[in-house]
Symmetry: C2
Subunit: 448 residues, 2 copies
């Protein structure tokens, strides 16, 4: 692949400018000081979950791999950096030949995580790793936030399908990534054509109120829609009077009408009324789709309602109250010299303010109880205890600069379902609470 | 311009897939029904401001113009739509030659808005206008949310500069748009290099904790940074002990040290201590920059602290609690036939659920009191009252498909400052309250 693959029908020359300036100035200073080539380990983790959430969802890993692969400084980018005097000529020369040549390990995409989980580990020289901070965090913080909301909504929906409809409520390209993350988190389809194009996610959609209002009578609109899209289409029945519209919809399409959509009002009440009416009209197979500012709580409250599918917009793409995660990218170990064989020394910020970190290169494993249910997230440095060897969470993603772990989105989606199923039942409670697994730290003898 | 210009160093073949599928299916049904060419007016507005906010900020208009200009269906996109059977061959043929040929009017970018303000008006055939719903809303809902947060933070900061540092907390391309919106809302600079590249926004950045941790001693790191970036650089002083770091920073760089950055702890307390220490060390011109989960309230609480600049990340790019606006794109008027001269008839959804709209093509004007301070947002149909003619808010943005209102970002930024200055003083109160202007509706005799 010779262009960046960022989740859109777009050729991107490079991802190298999705970078905070300080990464380049640190590089310049380290190059001059002779420390830039010290072997270093950076880790992505979060100190806490969003308030009240029981677990986090790793999403965006596949997009991170694309971003790393396409992170290079072409002539336009170098000319910009030169013109702005962001860095000096020696640094520009170094950047011109930049390709990440290190290793990346991480939680596989779709896996769940907890405070302190080393979600991703990037290892190489300081110079090549420090540049990736912003783009890795942008992708993971965004996509994981959306996937976490999607996962909760999926639990709330039981087996009923969820449709992602939030493109209009977020940045047009964040929307594409959101549809992808929602699919990882259990959604079935999206309204966003760009997400269908790029990620092959099923797309759906039929009509809006504007279509009804375009026509002289609601009946004309229904007839036009059925004539063009067939009896299996979904008719939107709340432009004027819902009962009248449902009656007319079945008149126009017959009992083969695919579905009706309700986008306003008291959905619980209206869904019951519409179901009764549809049944009375003989349209027993006509489904009911609801869409109106739904979140996981509203979805759960409709569990007893005769609803066949939920369309979710705003609350999905804004992470249902938590539009970002608080993942950070921290140097946790580095060599004391530029000798590639020099041992790694654990490092960590020590100042006050709740931002301290645990130094050292980490492993993580999920310990199960006697029933095979997860009981702890174990994070450690040094040797992995034998009994946890086959429960290790990090997998190799990039080896010597080459991506080695691409996978289809359906595999990721299934992994997520399995990961949640392996947690204690309280994981899927919607109410606010503590992380469903405690994080235990184990400090091995061998340091990092 | 022959590629989409979405705020990134990227060639985008088209913005046409930033579209919800129902826009295409409505097009297909309307083409078949013979109603697609009815002259139509769509308006963008919001029914409410985010809870407690006093005003909204229009941002993203320039990006909308780019998106409209590049909204076309190329061979790849058409092949995708055909393969997925999203629409039929007749519709694909229509899409292949699509170029928006209508008119767009809107509030100029940077202007403030209130519930019901007709922020943008799109006029043309139903077919050409209905397709633009999602991309217009994506851009405006995102960018306006960020600009509104930025505007509040700017008020809270008084004249002190604000640095946008949130790229890592949002989607990598939303980050670029966020930096742009923050600049509109009064921020001075950004850490995001892509935003500097694309929008010529000043970029800043020096070093992170990783740079200190890379080196064997904090002093080594400071020396390396000063040697490479000069004495005017900003040293990060909270990796270990702040007082010790400040002492060392001045030792290394001398009193010409540009600034120190504090990224953790009780910023009010620490800033006072650091200022005193810097002054005692003779570094009276060394500035103090604070960065640590700041929002407008934290900024305001530091008004009395000796702080010279604020770096804001998460809370900026997530809209400080309101990551999206609730703008909608509604058909408000359309002709009763495809005759281009047929009169426009106002239309509006009538069903319950709080989602009703006001039909008819609207104008808007901001009425001033005797002191020249804004006192009402007046929205009307029909003729504009004479006394409001020179207070009209909508300007022509696209005429017959051609963009006619591109403008530099600095003009937008200045407009925003002036718009806020024209509001009652309570507009800049941070506390929750009602919109600072009431919206008054005036229904003219001539309907739409």
């Amino acid at each position: 692949m010779d262009v960046a693959d960022l989740g859109l029908p777009v050729d991107v020359p490079s991802t190298a400018l999705f970078t905070d300036q300080y990464e380049l100035t640190m590089l310049q200073a380290a190059l001059k000081a002779g420390t830039a080539e010290r072997r270093s380990v950076f880790e992505v983790f979060t100190r806490r979950l969003p308030d009240g959430r029981r677990y986090g969802v790793v999403a965006g890993t596949g997009r991170v791999l694309d971003a790393i692969e396409n992170f290079r400084f072409d002539a336009d980018v170098l000319a910009f950096l030169r013109e702005r005097a962001v860095v000096d000529e020696a640094t520009l020369a170094w950047l011109a030949s930049y390709r990440f040549s290190g290793d990346v390990w991480g939680y596989p995409e779709g896996e769940v995580y907890f405070p302190g989980s080393p979600i991703m580990r990037v290892e190489g020289t300081f110079a090549e790793c420090v540049l990736l901070e912003t783009v890795i965090l942008s992708v993971l913080n965004h996509d994981s936030a959306i996937a976490a909301a999607a996962s909760r909504m999926s639990s709330a929906a039981g087996g009923r399908p969820l449709i992602e409809m939030g493109a209009r409520r977020t940045h047009e390209l964040a929307a594409v990534a959101s549809a992808r993350a929602a699919y990882v988190g259990g959604f079935s389809s999206t309204s966003d054509l760009a997400a269908g194009f790029r990620y092959n996610i099923p797309t759906v959609g039929t009509s809006a109120h504007a279509f009804t209002l375009l026509h002289d009578h609601e009946r004309d609109a229904f007839q036009a829609q059925v004539a063009s899209l067939g009896r299996g289409t979904t008719l939107l029945v709340d432009t004027y009077d819902v009962a009248e519209a449902v009656r007319m919809a079945v008149q126009v399409a017959g009992p083969e009408l695919g579905a009706v959509r309700i986008d306003s009002g008291d959905l619980l009440l209206v869904a019951h009324r519409v179901r009764r009416q549809l049944d009375e009209l003989g349209a027993r197979d006509t489904k009911i789709i609801v869409t109106s500012d739904l979140d996981e709580y509203a979805i759960a409250s409709l569990a007893a309602a005769p609803v066949d599918a939920y369309g979710v917009g705003t609350q999905l793409v804004t992470g249902s109250g938590h539009p970002t995660c608080s993942m950070v990218y921290k140097l946790v170990a580095r060599a004391g010299s530029t000798d590639p064989k020099a041992p790694l020394l654990p490092v960590a910020k020590k100042s006050s303010g709740g931002k301290t970190s645990v130094g050292g290169r980490k492993w993580a494993a999920r310990r199960l109880d006697e029933n095979g249910v997860a009981e702890a997230e174990v994070v450690g440095t040094g040797a992995v205890p034998t009994e946890l060897l086959d429960r290790r969470l990090l997998v190799e993603l990039v080896k010597g600069g080459e991506v080695v772990a691409r996978e289809p989105l359906d595999v990721v989606r299934e992994r997520h379902t399995a990961a949640v199923a392996g947690l204690p039942l309280s994981a899927t409670q919607l109410s606010r609470g503590e992380p469903v697994l405690p994080t235990e730290y184990v400090h091995g003898r061998s340091g990092s």
